[in-house]
């Protein structure tokens, strides 16, 4: 019993350390710090859930989120705020289902060279991975595969098609 409460304290201390690490190391913008703050919350939630989640929460998390695509702006790997709630649902689902693994498929539009686009697709998928891990999803549940421009979502040219191409697909 004593050991268990010690473990909880340690966990809390560790998650604080994570927050501190995030805000001092990575984030330079207010948004990032806010994210980091939220994260420690979900990460703690994740730990407690594995030691026995409340019925209410477990019921809510049993559903796999149906939305699984994050779209990106041209030449960008930053996650638009509109996708945060969807990603948070995935994060919660993954934390409740620790044996579930996902592949984050990174994609780009067809402009530019194929190998460089592999790098850009990976950057986008890594941005999503980082978001999910900051939410508390263990990195071991996430694999990143970049397809670059090799598997386009749309055919043809023009911004309408390209905006469909620039995506990360969360694949369970």
């Amino acid at each position: 019993m004593q050991f268990s409460s010690y473990a909880k304290t340690l966990a809390a201390a560790l998650s604080l350390a994570v927050v501190a690490g995030c805000s001092s190391g990575g984030g330079t913008q207010d948004g990032d710090q806010q994210n980091a703050g939220m994260n420690s919350g979900s990460s703690t939630q994740g730990m407690s859930s594995s030691s026995g989640a409340t019925g209410q929460n477990a019921g809510q998390q049993a559903q796999m989120p149906s939305e699984n695509r994050v779209y990106f702006d041209f030449d960008s790997d930053s996650i638009r705020p509109q996708y945060e709630s969807m990603l948070n649902q995935h994060a919660q689902y993954l934390q409740r289902n620790s044996s579930t693994n996902i592949v984050l498929e990174g994609h780009t539009d067809p402009r530019g060279t194929r190998e460089y686009n592999l790098g850009l697709g990976e950057r986008r998928a890594n941005a999503v991975r980082q978001y999910l891990t900051i939410q508390g999803v263990p990195a071991s549940q996430i694999e990143v595969v970049s397809y670059g421009e090799e598997r386009r979502a749309a055919s043809g040219n023009g911004e309408q098609a390209y905006s469909q191409d620039r995506r990360v697909v969360i694949d369970y």
Binding site: Y116, G119, E122, S155
Partner: protein
């Protein structure tokens, strides 16, 4: 009866077009001629009691024309059809403005053919070349390319590259049902052979310096991995399967090493693998994307793409790593760089206000020349004699190959019967 014959004719036409499609040959169309191309008359080779399956004279004329440096006379301008030098009237050929004349004939020889050809200099009124070559039925195209090589070198002083081959990737269908294939064909697009097919992406084929193997990236396992395939046997090995990107394989000039881009440590970095021992050396160390390495012809340097400055640009570093130096300063996107065989130029994909084009940069002056003029031109591959560049472009919204002379004067489209064609790679000299 008439209807029946029309139907039969139509059926034959259909069959012919089906056969052409089944063969999958790429054919070269001229989109821009070179005003300074050398006029040359190539007389159809006379069959002496034989009818070979290939039109030798036409293969030679096409090769010369597709080099961008020659303008073969149209068939109606061929004022006579000599088959040897004995009955050539030089002044007649001068009148139709031919600088050179190629004549030849084909005879039976054992199981194959004996092909005699001659090259004549019209102004000098003399025979420049004369040779007899033997060929089996299967070798007719190769032997014709050989003859074109001799003529090209005799006149230009540059070694011909018509016996070389190209590799390229095709894609058919729409995600998630795309089928990919890797092909090897003659440099003129004929005799394509599929060497790999997959329902997962294939990219970045790279010829080994001995012309015997191709390295490429295949996602067939669900993850990108680098493979090396022996062309004659089809046997292959999976060279890498690291976590993350396994991409952009490039052979060292001695064929012992492969440079590549691996993201196993977090972001794509340039590595060199010793092929025999599989030992890896990491050459770059930045948080950027570092990819698309290419070895200088002397093996001392590597050109590569990096976006360490915020935008992709070409850098050159020592082949052992270190001394990285930015090479491109024109425009905000330069990628997919490669050295020309003479080490005087580098070729690359560059972004301008008109989209993406293939460009050439003079290594001594730094001057950049844009070689292509449509808006999605990329992935240049240079012939081993440095005279031609093949690249990926679009026709309609479909991926096709294009070719341009390295001086930018003549350009060609190489449409495929169906599907998308991309990722060209030019073999080294194979003869």
């Amino acid at each position: 009866m008439k209807k029946l014959m029309a139907l039969a004719g139509f059926m034959m036409l259909m069959m012919a077009s089906l056969m052409a499609q089944a063969a999958g040959d790429l054919t070269i169309e001229i989109t821009r001629g070179n005003d300074n191309a050398i006029p040359i008359a190539v007389v159809p080779f006379r069959g002496e009691g034989v009818s070979p399956s290939e039109d030798i004279g036409k293969i030679i004329a096409d090769d010369l024309e597709h080099s961008g440096q020659f303008a073969p006379l149209a068939p109606q301008d061929l004022i006579s059809r000599p088959a040897s030098g004995d009955n050539i009237n030089y002044s007649d050929w001068r009148r139709v403005r031919a600088n050179y004349l190629v004549v030849g004939r084909v005879e039976s020889s054992g199981n194959g053919y004996k092909i005699s050809y001659e090259l004549h200099d019209i102004a000098g009124q003399r025979r420049e070349l004369g040779e007899v070559v033997t060929s089996s039925e299967d070798q007719l195209r190769s032997r014709s390319h050989y003859i074109a090589d001799q003529i090209f070198e005799e006149i230009t002083g540059i070694r011909g590259a018509f016996q070389t081959r190209i590799a390229y990737v095709t894609a058919n269908g729409v995600d998630p049902n795309i089928s990919y294939a890797l092909y090897v064909a003659d440099q003129d697009g004929h005799r394509p052979q599929q060497i790999l097919s997959s329902d997962q992406p294939i990219l970045s084929p790279a010829w080994s310096p001995d012309g015997q193997k191709l390295a490429y990236v295949s996602f067939e396992s669900g993850r990108p991995a680098i493979y090396v395939q022996q062309l004659s046997s089809g046997r292959r090995v999976q060279l890498t399967s690291f976590r993350g990107i396994n991409g952009a394989p490039a052979w060292s000039p001695d064929g012992r090493k492969l440079a590549m881009s691996l993201s196993k440590d977090g972001n794509p970095e340039i590595y060199v693998m010793d092929v025999a021992s599989r030992s890896l050396t990491r050459l770059t160390n930045t948080s950027a994307i570092n990819t698309e390495p290419d070895w200088s012809p002397d093996g001392r340097s590597l050109l590569f793409t990096s976006d360490r400055s915020g935008q992709p640009q070409l850098y050159q570093m020592d082949a052992s790593g270190g001394n990285a130096k930015r090479m491109t300063f024109t425009g905000n996107y330069n990628a997919g760089g490669l050295y020309g065989p003479d080490n005087k130029f580098i070729f690359m994909t560059t972004r301008t206000d008109r989209g993406f084009q293939v460009a050439r940069q003079d290594l001594s002056s730094g001057r950049v020349t844009t070689l292509t003029n449509t808006y999605q031109d990329e992935a240049p591959a240079v012939a081993p004699n440095g005279t031609m560049v093949i690249y990926a472009t679009q026709q309609g919204a479909r991926g096709v190959l294009g070719a341009v002379s390295a001086d930018g004067r003549a350009s060609f489209l190489i449409p495929a019967p169906n599907g998308e064609v991309r990722e060209p790679s030019w073999s080294p000299f194979l003869d």
